[in-house]
């Protein structure tokens, strides 16, 4: 307080400051004290160490959980990447010079299809990858059905793909096939009850059979008696 101000109103201010109590003082001093005492006696909360302890306990759990989820996520991401990268691209339309031919090869023993390499020139848009570890036994193939077997590109496609897809082909009469009658006669004379047809593509001008890797499928045809 400035001296000037003090001098001006010192008297009434002193009077006011010396006022120790009012007629209507504290309603219940003891009650106020009890409340105050209760507040003063309250110990400060020690929640922090408990929280730190809980956090310390939970931290390894969270880390383990995070690692496990991260692994799963990375696996899924990798699979998605693989499938997206190795998408089946439809093969370009076949040139006019090529046509589908069937080459008949006589064989006594049942042939197991080599499924390690997929045929290159097939219309791959309709293909579905199948399991690699199960080679298809040709003996089980019916004449009116052809089975397309391709090597699966990766795990993701392996999971997604069905094992065997049966593809119906048009019925072809034996007379329509480009087989020399002498060949059939020789088969008969050799005592063979069936012969094998290999499906594949070859040039119209070429007379030789396409390489084994380029087979589109194999048909076993029984010979009539």
């Amino acid at each position: 307080m400035t001296n000037e101000k003090q001098n001006e109103g010192a008297h009434w201010i002193n009077k006011l400051n010396e006022l120790d109590s009012l007629p209507e003082a504290i309603s219940n001093k003891d009650a106020v004290w009890e409340k105050l005492h209760g507040r003063l006696q309250k110990k400060p909360r020690r929640n922090k160490p408990v929280w730190y302890l809980a956090a310390a306990c939970l931290l390894p759990l969270f880390i383990l959980l995070w690692i496990s989820t991260n692994k799963k996520q990375s696996l899924v991401v990798n699979n998605i990447k693989n499938t997206s990268q190795k998408k089946i691209i439809p093969a370009p339309p076949l040139p006019i010079t090529q046509k589908e031919t069937v080459v008949a090869v006589a064989e006594k023993k049942p042939v197991i299809n080599n499924t390690e390499t997929p045929p290159k020139s097939m219309n791959t848009a309709k293909q579905i990858h199948t399991k690699i570890s199960e080679p298809l036994i040709v003996n089980e193939i019916k004449p009116d059905e052809a089975i397309t077997i391709l090597q699966p590109a990766d795990t993701a496609t392996y999971i997604a793909a069905p094992l065997v897809v049966k593809k119906k082909l048009t019925m072809v009469h034996i007379n329509e096939l480009d087989i020399v009658p002498q060949q059939l006669a020789s088969l008969h004379s050799n005592g063979q009850s069936s012969f094998r047809l290999v499906l594949g593509k070859m040039d119209a001008n070429s007379t030789t059979a396409p390489p084994r890797q380029e087979y589109a499928g194999i048909l076993k045809i029984p010979l009539a008696n």
Binding site: M1, G9, W12, K15, L16, N17, L22, K29, V32
Partner: protein
């Protein structure tokens, strides 16, 4: 325990001797509940008057008093006792801060600086002829903004700058509020004119 018995005995017999504050403060610092109770008993009435000068409602004033004493006891360890005037000034400051906090919470300091249309100078001499309770009652009748500025400026001796900072208002607002408070007090004094004249004559 022995001290507690003595304090309770004294309190029961309403002798209310003003025990030496320094001793009580020392014992209260050491955690003596009896000393704390004794300090509360000795100081609470005076502090209640102070709180009531700022806050009209008795219930609110009691709440503020409790909060103020709580802070007082909690911070007693940090207080360096340097005599009773300093001790009282510190306690008063705690209480005033509590009152201002309470008023600020109620958002009553949203005042706009206004130019007083009609200003009547307060004849402070006239206040000297009034009793402490009469002065108190007149101050309490002032609107809260006027009352707070008047208390801080005229009674506590703060400057307008300090008041502006404490209340979060401009200095101009503080000045105008003080001027209006004085005008209003003067009007109240005029209304009490008859009594005042009588007292003056005596």
């Amino acid at each position: 325990m022995f001290l507690k018995c003595i304090y309770s005995f004294i309190n029961q017999h309403h002798r209310t001797p003003f025990m030496e504050i320094a001793k009580l403060v020392k014992e209260a610092r050491q955690g003596s509940t009896a000393a704390q109770k004794c300090l509360f008993d000795q100081l609470s009435d005076k502090m209640m008057v102070l709180c009531r000068r700022y806050v009209k409602s008795r219930e609110d004033a009691e709440e503020i008093l409790q909060d103020g004493f709580y802070k007082f006891f909690k911070n007693l360890d940090d207080f360096n006792y340097q005599g009773e005037p300093a001790f009282f000034a510190w306690l008063k400051r705690i209480m005033i801060n509590e009152c201002l906090m309470f008023l600020r919470k109620k958002n009553i300091f949203n005042m706009v600086a206004e130019t007083a249309a009609e200003e009547i100078a307060l004849e402070e001499d006239a206040l000297n002829y009034l009793s402490a309770v009469e002065i108190f009652n007149m101050i309490v009748q002032l609107p809260v903004g006027y009352r707070t500025v008047f208390n801080l400026y005229a009674v506590e001796g703060m400057t307008h700058g300090e008041i502006a900072v404490l209340m979060g208002i401009s200095e101009g607002t503080s000045k105008s509020q003080l001027s209006k408070a004085r005008s209003l007090l003067q009007k109240m004094l005029v209304q009490k004119g008859t009594d005042y004249d009588k007292r003056k004559a005596k």
